[in-house]
């Protein structure tokens, strides 16, 4: 209990320092639909590029991403995620603990950390999987696996929720803080991309004693395209308290 005043003082000191650390981040969102054809089953791709405005170019550590998908495009209309994955075994045993039928898509990520020796980068492979059933939302688990220079695995959850027009679905993802070493800084996400859809996915099922492989159907593109294309938007929140909003659109298919 006696430590509370000290902690409070430390927090106040940190807050006082905050303006210098509150450099704005620059975020670019890219989205794609493959194929981009009205009424078709598609793979949605999204990618963020995040940069800091400080001298190192390293952004503040990322805490959360809210990604808005266009209206009329629902995961429920697809056969993606015919199995689900539990986060604890996924973290302990890796992708082997989950059915391949739980995979929703693949992507990649990159993190950076500024040290006295310079900026250190690390890349990770991302796998998006269907999480355990939840009565409030559809849960997506992002499994990140980095190899060099540090081997590390990470699972972070995303909640798929209904959204307001012109959007239809919100993916609310919480990014855990990833510390470099005890007492060291947290790493900063500089790139994050993933797909949600059948591209590069193969599921399997047992039919009559035989294993059949098949490609799941993706999220259906609506039969009409809104003016200005299919809208995507995102809000990214950072440890330094800053929030960046960005948006983009995928152009309407011709014909």
């Amino acid at each position: 209990m006696r430590r509370h005043p000290i902690i409070a003082a430390a927090v106040l000191a940190l807050l006082a320092m905050a303006p210098s650390a509150r450099a704005a981040q620059r975020v670019r969102l890219h989205a794609s639909l493959y194929p981009n054809r009205l009424g078709a089953s598609t793979t949605i791709g999204f990618a963020f590029t995040i940069a800091g405005t400080g001298p190192s170019g390293v952004p503040a550590p990322l805490r959360a991403i809210d990604l808005h998908f266009p209206g009329g495009m629902s995961l429920g209309s697809s056969t993606l995620g015919l199995a689900y994955c539990q986060p604890a075994p996924l973290l302990t045993d890796g992708l082997e603990s989950c059915s391949r039928n739980a995979v929703l898509g693949y992507g990649s990520g990159a993190v950076k950390v500024a040290t006295s020796q310079g900026v250190v980068s690390e890349r990770a492979a991302i796998t998006a999987l269907l999480g355990p059933p939840n009565p409030q939302h559809v849960e997506v688990l992002f499994y990140a696996e980095a190899v060099t220079p540090i081997a590390a695995q990470l699972v972070f959850p995303g909640a798929v929720l209904d959204d307001q027009a012109p959007y239809g679905t919100l993916l609310d993802t919480t990014i855990p803080l990833i510390s470099t070493w005890p007492g060291g800084p947290d790493v900063s996400v500089t790139n994050f991309s993933s797909t949600v859809g059948p591209k590069n996915l193969t599921y399997s099922e047992r039919v009559g004693g035989r294993t059949i492989r098949f490609q799941p159907t993706g999220i259906k593109i609506p039969r009409t395209c809104p003016r200005g294309g299919f809208p995507f938007a995102a809000e990214l929140r950072f440890v330094d308290g800053s929030e960046v909003r960005t948006r983009t659109s995928v152009r309407c298919p011709r014909g």
Binding site: S74, T79, G81, L82, N101, P133, V160, P222, R223
Partner: protein, 161 residues
């Protein structure tokens, strides 16, 4: 006005739609009610059904089938999974002597291949012998096989015929 209690458990619907299936069950139960008790105004029922996919158009899924068990009744249904958690559709059942049409909506929970749903279905109109069916809202729940879109439906409630 006489109230007749009608409980049919584990009646199977060989083919059909989703929320529609449940609706169909209720309508079938009413439709199949013997003519000798046609004076019944209220039917309380419990039904189980299974339905299957016959076609699709974009995100719209079309199902059709036949109820089997105590009552036999053709069913068609169209439904859409509107969002990550909502499902809605329309249904028509074709009992002997007419048809009954309605809407259904509910929430779904995705658990891998199987999604669970629960909600209500509302009978909106009828034709032929069922032209005077009362608009009624009935509880419905069941499962959707997300690979095949086969449905199971459980429903119970009161029908005014």
């Amino acid at each position: 006005v006489k109230t007749i209690r009608l409980i049919t458990v584990k009646t199977r619907w060989k083919a059909g739609g989703i929320a529609t299936g449940a609706l169909a069950c209720a309508a079938c139960a009413a439709a199949a009610f013997p003519a000798s008790v046609a004076f019944a105004k209220t039917v309380q029922f419990t039904e189980n059904a299974s339905l299957h996919l016959t076609g699709s158009s974009g995100a719209l899924l079309v199902e059709a089938g036949t109820a089997r068990g105590t009552y036999n009744c053709a069913v068609t249904a169209r439904f859409k999974i509107n969002s990550t958690s909502r499902i809605s559709g329309t249904f028509t059942v074709y009992p002997k002597g007419g048809s009954i049409t309605g809407t259904a909506s509910g929430r779904i929970v995705v658990a891998g291949r199987i999604a669970y749903y629960g909600g209500t279905m509302t009978i909106s109109k009828g034709s032929g012998s069922f032209a005077h069916v009362h608009p009624t809202t009935i509880g419905v729940s069941g499962t959707i096989d997300r690979r095949t879109y086969a449905l199971t439906v459980k429903t119970n409630g009161t029908l005014h015929v």
